[in-house]
C-alpha cells in the first residue's frame, strides 16, 4: 500500500479543529491555535530587522533562533500526531517503512494551512522537501520584497524535526535527539520557483 496523501489531508481537514467551550483546541497532546499567518510573519521579520539594525554582531542572530522555534514546534506537534490514535488508525497501516512515515507526516502538514508540501526524496540519511507557497515566503515578499537569503525559518526547523522524530533512535532518552539539521537551499523570497529544504545529520 502506498501513502494516500489526499485521503490523509481530507481526514485531517475534516476533523475541523476548533475551540471548545473554553476556547481551547486540545489535539494531538498540544493546544492548537488557528492563528494569523500575518502575525507570525510580522513578529519574526520585525525581530530579524531589529537585530540587523542593532549592528553587525547581532545581524545574523535571528535565523538560528527562529529555526529552533520551528524545530520545537515540529518536534512537539508532529510527534503528537505520530503517536495519536488517528495516526495508528489511518496512516500507520499505509506505511511499509520509516520513509513512508515521513511522507505520512508531510501529508498531515498539508492540512494545517501551511501551503502545498511534497517530499522529493527521503532516505534514513537525507530528506529533500519542497513547497511552492510557504506562508513565510508569501508574507516576506509582500512586506519587504525580494530577499538576499532564504527566509522560511519555521519551515526549516519543522523539516529537521520530521527526521528527528522518525529516524533518531531513542528520541526520549537520547540527549542528542536534535541530531538532524536542515538548510533552506531555495526560497521563493529569493525569487526561486519554490522553497526547498534539505535535511541531513549534523556533523
Amino acid at each position: 500500500m502506498t501513502i494516500n496523501e489526499s485521503k490523509i489531508i481530507d481526514a485531517v481537514v475534516g476533523m475541523n479543529p476548533h475551540g471548545n467551550e473554553e476556547g481551547i483546541i486540545d489535539a494531538f497532546t498540544v493546544y492548537l491555535t488557528n492563528h494569523y499567518a500575518d502575525y507570525y510573519n510580522k513578529i519574526s521579520y520585525k525581530f530579524e530587522k531589529a537585530l540587523e539594525a542593532h549592528g553587525k554582531d547581532t545581524a545574523n542572530m535571528a535565523k538560528p533562533l527562529l529555526i529552533e522555534a520551528g524545530h520545537v514546534c515540529g518536534f512537539n506537534t508532529f510527534r503528537g500526531i505520530h503517536e495519536s490514535d488517528a495516526w495508528k488508525g489511518l496512516i500507520a497501516p499505509m506505511c511499509k517503512n520509516k520513509e513512508d512515515e515521513i511522507i505520512g507526516l508531510t501529508a498531515t502538514l498539508n492540512a494545517l494551512g501551511w501551503g502545498v508540501w511534497k517530499v522529493i526524496s527521503v532516505t534514513p540519511k537525507k530528506l529533500v522537501i519542497r513547497s511552492k507557497n510557504t506562508y513565510e515566503s508569501i508574507g516576506f515578499m509582500k512586506e519587504f520584497g525580494k530577499s538576499k537569503h532564504s527566509e522560511c525559518y519555521l519551515a526549516t526547523g519543522v523539516a529537521a524535526s520530521f527526521m528527528n522524530i522518525i529516524f533518531q533512535k531513542d528520541v526520549y532518552e537520547d540527549v542528542n535527539a536534535n541530531a538532524f539539521s536542515a538548510k533552506e537551499t531555495k526560497c521563493r523570497s529569493k525569487e526561486d520557483k519554490y522553497c526547498e529544504f534539505v535535511v541531513t545529520r549534523k556533523k
Binding site: 475551540g19 500575518d38 502575525y39 507570525y40 520545537v72
Partner: protein
C-alpha cells in the same frame, strides 16, 4: 448569528478568513517564539508582538465589519470578534465592560497563559502580548477609531497568579 467564514482552499492548502491565511500552530511554538523575542533584551520583543497583533486584528475586523453589515452596534461587533477568538483557539474573551472610551476586558481562559504554564509554570510578569494587541485592534475597529487610538495593559495574568486574565483599555 453572524460568523466569520473560514474556508479551505483545496488547491493551495490554505485556510482563509477575509482573504487572509490562518495556520495551525501549537502552544509550544507560540510560547517558545514569544520567549525568543522576549529574551532578546536588545530589541523590544514585547512591543513587536503587541503592535503586530494590533495590526492584524484591526485589518481583519475593519474588513469583516464592512462585509457584515448586519452588525450595527459596537456590542454586536465585539461579540462577533469574541466568537472568532474562541473558535480560533485563543480562549474566551469578554468585552461587555467596555465603551467607546475604553474599559475592562477579561479572558477567563487564555491560550497563551495556559500554554506558558503548561510548558514552564508560573512567571513574574503578565505575558499575553498577543491578546493585548488583539484587544487594541478589535476595539478600534468596533468603535470606529483609528489603529492606535487605544492603549491596553494586562493587569492580571493567569501565567503569574490565579485564574483568568484582565486588561485595562484607555483611549489615547
Amino acid at each position: 448569528m453572524e460568523k466569520l467564514n473560514i474556508s479551505w482552499n483545496k488547491k493551495t492548502n490554505q485556510r482563509l478568513v477575509e482573504g487572509k491565511s490562518l495556520v495551525f500552530h501549537c502552544h509550544h511554538y507560540n510560547c517558545f517564539l514569544q520567549r525568543t523575542l522576549e529574551d532578546a533584551k536588545i530589541v523590544d520583543g514585547k512591543g513587536i508582538q503587541i503592535e503586530s497583533a494590533r495590526e492584524v486584528a484591526f485589518e481583519q475586523f475593519t474588513k469583516a465589519f464592512e462585509d457584515h453589515q448586519k452588525l450595527k452596534t459596537a456590542k454586536q461587533k465585539l461579540k462577533f470578534a469574541s466568537n472568532f477568538f474562541q473558535i480560533a483557539g485563543f480562549g474566551l474573551i469578554d468585552f461587555s465592560k467596555t465603551n467607546t472610551e475604553g474599559g475592562t476586558v477579561t479572558c477567563p481562559v487564555s491560550h497563551y497563559a495556559k500554554g506558558w504554564v503548561a510548558k514552564w509554570g508560573k512567571r513574574k510578569t503578565p505575558m499575553c502580548y498577543f491578546n493585548t494587541g488583539w484587544i487594541a485592534g478589535v476595539m478600534a475597529a468596533a468603535y470606529n477609531k483609528e489603529l492606535y487610538d487605544y492603549d491596553v495593559r494586562e493587569t492580571k495574568c493567569e501565567a503569574v497568579k490565579g485564574k483568568g486574565c484582565k486588561f485595562e483599555v484607555t483611549q489615547r
